[in-house]
């Protein structure tokens, strides 16, 4: 797979592996991300993966652009491919009901489907974690079944409850904390997306696989969910 370097700032560059959402491109990003993280290069401050790119920023006193790019290129060329068997699958329990899924009825009407059919479309597949960002522990998951794809709200909400399971276009995500946002909400999970108790602080990391599991109101409450 080809990749290209592009200057982003005085101490930052981008590595592009492609320019679209594609599981194969994402695998290349993950492979490079893992290899670079493991290399623990001195003076590398941040390595941030996204759908098709990696951003690398460095300390200008211990690294410089030309030699770091060369070293990074070598590491990526030598990186071991991602073995699908190694991919961690994380299950996220979700209570789907209009009392927490504030847009569930709207999406059902928009798609001319029953609420149960909407839920089935959301739970009957696994998702790739393409990126973590925007807010701590916010994981961009894709790709959503095309039959469920729905644009963002025209007027974003000022406050989306913590744990909201939401969709936007062909992406899905869980809001880790209460925050403003424009994604449509289908349900709510009782589990934390971001916690100091988690290894690496975030429940989800780039490269993980995710499945949503529908739970009842009673199970949601038993797991510590807040209505």
């Amino acid at each position: 797979m080809n990749f290209t370097f592009q200057v982003a700032s005085f101490n930052t560059f981008m590595i592009y592996f492609g320019h679209r959402i594609d599981p194969q491109v994402s695998k290349e990003v993950q492979k490079a991300y893992r290899a670079l993280k493991n290399a623990r290069l001195i003076g590398v401050l941040e390595i941030i993966p996204s759908y098709a790119s990696l951003m690398v920023s460095y300390d200008v006193l211990t690294q410089n652009y030309d030699s770091l790019c060369k070293r990074v290129e070598e590491i990526i060329m030598m990186a071991r491919p991602i073995d699908e068997a190694e991919q961690k699958t994380v299950s996220i329990p979700s209570y789907y009901h209009p009392e927490v899924g504030l847009d569930l009825e709207t999406v059902a009407e928009e798609k001319n489907l029953s609420i149960d059919a909407i839920i089935a479309l959301h739970v009957n597949q696994s998702y790739n974690v393409y990126a973590v960002g925007f807010a701590p522990g916010f994981a961009y998951l894709g790709e959503l079944n095309e039959a469920l794809a729905s644009p963002r709200l025209a007027n974003p909400r000022k406050s989306i409850p913590k744990g909201s399971v939401s969709i936007a276009d062909r992406q899905t995500a869980v809001y880790p904390t209460q925050s403003p946002g424009g994604w449509k909400i289908l349900g709510r999970t009782p589990i934390a997306m971001f916690d100091t108790a988690y290894e690496g602080l975030s429940l989800l990391h780039v490269g993980d696989l995710v499945r949503f599991e529908a739970i009842s109101r009673a199970e949601f409450l038993k797991l510590g969910g807040i209505l």
């Binding site: 592009q6 200057v7 982003a8 700032s9 005085f10 101490n11 930052t12 981008m14 320019h19 679209r20 959402i21 991300y33 401050l45 941040e46 390595i47 941030i48 993966p49 996204s50 759908y51 098709a52 790119s53 990696l54 951003m55 920023s57 300390d59 200008v60 006193l61 410089n64 652009y65 990126a131 973590v132 960002g133 925007f134 807010a135 701590p136 522990g137 916010f138 961009y140 880790p176 904390t177 971001f194 690496g200 602080l201 975030s202 990391h205 780039v206």
Partner: protein
């Protein structure tokens, strides 16, 4: 307990250091001092390491009473500081003793002031940094701005000799700021005409900004596309959404976003931008990646010795 008892937190005062590094890949913002130049001088006056927990005061209003003995240094925007009611100057150290009070008025020039103490404030670290991120409720005092009743502990200190910053080093916050920018990212999404407009416009900062970034008003520069595939955003990135007004992303920027970016402002000019008050003028100028890197190296060599 030795330290400062906060009497009034002011508009937005918070503990900041050089920022939270190495956790952006799980979505945590960098945070840290908005103006590392004033912040750095404060550390230098006190003999502190560059990366030391310091109070950042936005616009003003902070006041406190001293418990024990504390040597402080003031830097950044002049907010008409008084010690026990008497006006004092910025860019100096002051030995304060039990019962002394210090009050900040409001900034007439510049936006952020820094107040440090010998050895720094002893607030807890969060993910490797003392910096407060109010939107993420992290760091500093319970992840929030300072409030009346807070106590900032520090070690007892008095400096034998008073220290000043030499006059020629004191920044002038009233000048038009030239933001030197390294082209990059989605430069190709802006045609030659748009780029010419971008570099020929004198932009006004109308106060539409916060620790996340500053939006600038002036001639519109419209990218060829509405959005791009979401990707990581670096410090100083100039994002231009379809409304055509550049937004310079600063310390508390979101880690990932999907708006086209023409390039990124060099760190030393981002520090100057942070001090621009509403109504201030800025313009962009292009700089090569090599020059930008050399400039940043010179800055950090000076402060991190």
């Amino acid at each position: 307990m030795n330290g400062l008892k906060i009497l009034n937190g002011g508009l937005q005062s918070s503990i900041q250091d050089a920022g939270r590094i190495g956790v952006s890949d799980i979505g945590l913002t960098q945070s840290g001092a908005m103006d590392e130049l004033a912040f750095g001088y404060v550390q230098m006056l006190l003999g502190n390491a560059f990366n030391t927990a310091t109070v950042e005061i936005a616009l003003g209003g902070l006041s406190f009473e001293v418990k024990g003995k504390v040597c402080i240094a003031l830097g950044g925007a002049d907010m008409g500081c008084t010690i026990n009611g008497k006006p004092v100057s910025m860019w100096e150290t002051y030995n304060l003793i039990e019962g002394d009070t210090l009050s900040f008025g409001f900034a007439s020039h510049g936006h952020f002031a820094y107040m440090g103490v010998v050895g720094g404030f002893q607030t807890p670290k969060s993910y490797g940094s003392f910096s407060t991120s109010i939107k993420e409720s992290l760091g500093g005092v319970e992840g929030r701005k300072l409030m009346a009743g807070d106590f900032l502990a520090c070690k007892p200190s008095q400096l034998k000799d008073k220290r000043y910053l030499k006059k020629e080093f004191i920044p002038n916050y009233d000048e038009e700021v030239h933001l030197r920018l390294v082209l990059g990212y989605q430069e190709a999404l802006f045609d030659e005409v748009q780029k010419e407009t971008f570099f020929n416009t004198v932009y006004t900062y109308k106060g539409e900004g916060d620790r996340m970034g500053y939006r600038l008003s002036g001639e519109k520069v419209v990218p060829k596309v509405n959005g791009i595939l979401s990707e990581a955003i670096c410090y100083g990135a100039v994002q231009i959404p379809i409304h055509g007004e550049p937004i310079v992303l600063l310390k508390e920027r979101q880690t990932i976003g999907g708006y086209p970016k023409i390039g990124s402002v060099i760190c030393t000019d981002c520090f100057k931008l942070a001090q621009v008050k509403a109504g201030g003028k800025v313009r962009f100028r292009v700089i090569s990646q090599e020059e930008a890197q050399a400039e940043a190296q010179a800055f950090y060599r000076f402060f991190r010795f």
